[in-house]
Subunit: 275 residues, 2 copies
């Protein structure tokens, strides 16, 4: 398969960089093709602004969705954005790797999302009607491809546990896993999280590396998080609210949007043929 | 009171800018002092990198928390970051205003957080022992001050409702409200959210503006979200997990960290004297 790693750490000697190299080596050894977008090394521009939309006249207001749609339709997005979109179209698997800063991704990676995930490419795709509300949440440009997050924290795992004060890691990552990755169609694998990143000793690093190698070995077969597809019948269109009869009684919040995992082995098989 | 609005939209003619001006006018008319950090207009640097830490030797690895601590302790943070920290120390109320892009803040505002919320200033504050785990989540540099989010979405309110496909807005904002604002001590007011931002007509704008004026009129008295204080007895130290006897039965996720609102009028009074 083709794997794109979008990597966001400012130091090439960081733990994150070392883990990235572990992932690349393991994927390459298994015969996968790997590309890395090292956002700091690329000096990737983080801010959405007028420079992103050369067609926009100076007199026109910058409404980002409209400007993004016009530029994408006309093939007039900037070269750095188009290059990232081409990598995404090449990749069967997308990995976002970053240190967790203030409970989400670093600004430079958020800027990559804000700029590369254009209207018509990652959102604003498909028909909006009373039967379906766009190709999103399980449908869209990246349907049939896989994605996952690799992240590190300074804090303890307990602080991110089901009752930990930071909130559960899966919920903290929901806006990324569900809102950024599942939205344009990716099957999203559970994140790989390394805690206490600033204090790992050699044994700790090796354990983290081996855990990551295992995730890379199983990247084609790990069952995705069973998020509910928006247009699959679970939601009322066009309000996009979960049907009243669905969801565990008493469940609320993000957990409502996770359905039941398929029980068959077939369901865990890769959804696209290997390239 | 002193109010700082940190504003992130690239177009000065945007709906967000118009709402910001409404807020500034209302606050000023009520006698408050207002400063605005207009991040795009300031061309605020979004990426944390080595340039943020002039004391860091080229041979040293950039471990962000350590470098941030050393620079903050030595008074060696960059001038743009120090200026923002001074504004934060001046402000009784912090408002973060931004369009919701991919379910969180734009990159430039995330970069403001990543850079300005330094170790020793907004995290890494206080004693870490078996009795308390730092001055955070209700304690810290900004204890007794207030903060709130003002945001706009392109989507419908229903999509962000309790059962909406995007996830509930309060949960999407939890990593910001709880993880970025409550963490260093702010009392966090409920967010002010304007939906369908790209399609507001004149009547829609006036309704949004009037709702915002009302929020500005009540900014000193609106009861904050009753997040649980980490060191107030609700959490076991040092694992920082919620005590087994607390939380509604069956509750999980972020909702566990919201306690009960105080019933008395006194509790809704401002926690710092007006300046």
């Amino acid at each position: 398969m083709n794997v794109l790693i979008v990597f966001a750490h400012p130091d090439p000697r960081s733990l994150n960089a070392a883990l990235r190299d572990v992932a690349v080596a393991e994927l390459t050894a298994a015969g996968h093709a790997v590309q890395v977008s090292d956002l700091y090394a690329m000096r990737f521009k983080a801010e959405v602004d007028r420079d992103d939309f050369p067609l926009l006249a100076p007199a026109d207001r910058l409404k980002v969705p409209g400007a993004s749609k016009a530029a994408f339709t006309a093939g007039a997005l900037t070269a750095d954005v188009v290059a990232e979109q081409q990598k995404l179209l090449w990749a069967d698997v997308l990995i976002l790797q970053f240190p967790l800063w203030w409970f989400t991704m670093p600004a430079i990676l958020k800027g990559w999302v804000d700029r590369v995930f254009a209207y018509g490419f990652a959102y604003g795709v498909g028909e909006h009607s009373e039967a379906r509300w766009g190709d999103r949440y399980g449908e869209g440009t990246f349907a049939g491809r896989r994605a996952m997050v690799i992240t590190t924290t300074g804090g303890w795992a307990e602080h991110y546990s089901a009752r930990g004060v930071n909130g559960p890691m899966d919920d903290l990552l929901f806006p990324i896993n569900h809102g950024i990755l599942f939205y344009p169609g990716y099957d999203v694998l559970p994140a790989h999280v390394v805690h206490r990143a600033d204090r790992l000793d050699a044994a700790g690093f090796e354990a983290a590396a081996e855990g990551l190698r295992e995730r890379m070995r199983t990247i084609a077969t790990t069952p995705p998080i069973p998020y509910r597809r928006q247009n699959g019948g679970d939601y009322l269109i066009s309000g996009c609210e979960l049907r009243p009869d669905l969801g565990d009684p008493g469940a609320r919040g993000f957990a409502l949007h996770v359905g039941r995992a398929p029980a068959t082995a077939e369901a865990a098989a890769p959804t696209r043929p290997a390239a």
